[in-house]
Symmetry: C2
Subunit: 316 residues, 2 copies
């Protein structure tokens, strides 16, 4: 049966319309039935339509009956409308088989959905930047997306950077059974660091205990990353997790007066603040090669030497 993808715009206005069109074409060529929300190309100030327009789009996506509700892009716009979203309607759609997929600003909706209903959504691609690239979309991203939509995805694996072994794993992870360890039955959650951090103190941040928190960011200097991580630390969020998994932190600019303060400095600092292991190198973030991750799903995290695996038991 042809799989049905619903494209909607809950955040910033789509500016790169050729990328939008290429994305729709690509998904169509991959054999999916693509439905574009009526307001997907709406524009109001920075936003993809005013607040009411974007809320209606989210609720149409929930009512679409699609296999995947995919965001056109991230940007900014969800945090301010979180109180007006009908989370029960989204959870009902999820229950009926609609997978909500997106990233970046979409972290706000995903976190709030998990906090309010426990429903699982997916951190993954956006239409324009991932399927609509000028050239071939990333094959790992496409394979993971296909795994999700066909119900074959069971997990993901990646190679830990050597530095993670030195700075993180080796020092912080108790050596178990010859460098092999597993964390079972932990809730996977997370997404964009700035967006997630902006939810601290609100009813939209899930109270996940014993979880595995994954984080990514773009355009933020390491000192700002550290300040955001400090917010999660001082709010008690980090101490409640069984592992922190860092994805890709990209497109920031170091300056001469950093004098050696860099991303690795922040990762090492973070590892000193908490007992749980801090793993790095997860292929997720504002980069072409991104895996899809079930936010709110129970997972198993396994590390064998430099190989890390995140496995989710349920079929989707």
């Amino acid at each position: 049966m042809t799989k049905h993808i619903y494209i909607f715009s809950p955040s910033s206005a789509v500016r790169d319309k050729p990328a939008f069109r290429r994305g729709v074409l690509r998904l169509t060529k991959l054999g999916y039935e693509v439905e574009v929300d009526a307001a997907a190309l709406s524009s109001h100030q920075r936003f993809a339509g005013d607040d009411e327009t974007r809320l209606a789009a989210i609720h149409r996506a929930a009512a679409s009956g699609a296999d995947v509700a995919l965001i056109s892009r991230g940007g900014y716009g969800l945090t301010r409308i979180l109180p007006a979203i009908n989370y029960k309607a989204i959870a009902k759609a999820v229950d009926k088989g609609t997978h909500f997929v997106g990233l970046s600003d979409f972290t706000a909706l995903q976190s709030a959905l998990l906090a309010k209903t426990g429903a699982v959504s997916w951190s993954g691609p956006a239409l324009g930047e991932d399927f609509g690239v000028d050239g071939e979309p990333d094959d790992i991203m496409e394979a993971c997306f296909d795994d999700l939509i066909t119900g074959q995805g069971e997990g993901t694996g990646w190679r830990l950077p050597p530095s993670a072994i030195k700075e993180g794993a080796a020092s912080a992870i108790p050596a178990r059974a010859g460098g092999v360890f597993s964390i079972n039955n932990a809730t996977l959650w997370g997404g964009n660091l700035a967006v997630l951090t902006s939810l601290v103190g609100s009813p939209y941040l899930p109270a996940v205990k014993g979880g595995i928190l994954f984080l990514e960011e773009v355009h933020e200097h390491p000192y700002r990353l550290e300040r955001m991580l400090t917010t999660l630390l001082h709010a008690g969020v980090l101490a409640q997790q069984k592992a922190i998994v860092l994805g890709q932190f990209t497109n920031y600019k170091l300056v001469p007066h950093d004098k050696g303060f860099k991303l690795a400095t922040v990762v090492a600092w973070l590892q000193k603040q908490i007992k749980a292991p801090v793993l790095t190198g997860l292929p997720f973030g504002h980069v072409p090669t991104k895996v899809l991750l079930p936010v709110g799903e129970k997972v198993v995290l396994t590390v064998e030497g430099r190989d890390a695996f995140l496995l989710w038991s349920h079929a989707h």
Copy 2:
């Protein structure tokens, strides 16, 4: 008696050493006895010395017996050392007459001090950027500083921008006694928006109810300001205040795709989210003309037409 000023560096390393020297010279010429902390010009990565060095500097400032303990500059470095600061020692120094003065990153210490002890500190200038400017320091800033150190300051006043009357006051403030209203016995608190927001959910954010919250920021696009304000909103902080007073938001860059989304848009949005009045134009922030404000002090806010006054009853 000659007033004693203690200069210390709790945050970023002093990079502009000529400005530092000019600042010391200026304060000396103004008739103050200036004492420079041993680590004031220390440097470690981005920081004015490593965490232990900066903590020791803060505690030396508290033990200095000075009339004013003034930061050399802001930057970044306080949030990560908040758990290790001896707030009782600072509160004891405040009680004995030391006024802690600073801004920007210093907001973290000021907020934590208020949260932990109730002690009052002062939002105001930094040595280098204010007293150490190449040319004459701002005379209003210097007059306010002199008022503080000589115990003559009783408050501050400013002219509300016309837009504040249209967008804020007129719509949101109930007309009382012919456009005149007062808020009495409210705790003044606040500072830098990003730093304050980074404390949400932590024990370092004061739980001020019925307060007057003042905010300023630099180098942050209005959409990011809005996201930070949304954090304070969703955490319930804004609803607990009797007034929000916005200082100067400077040095950000609008882009073509903002399409009309600007600072005034955010201020108007903010006013719609809360019942308390949102006043603008407070002369405080990353600008030369800045008043000094007692964080944690009980104040009276009075608005008479376009004239706003913040008065603190106690002499300092």
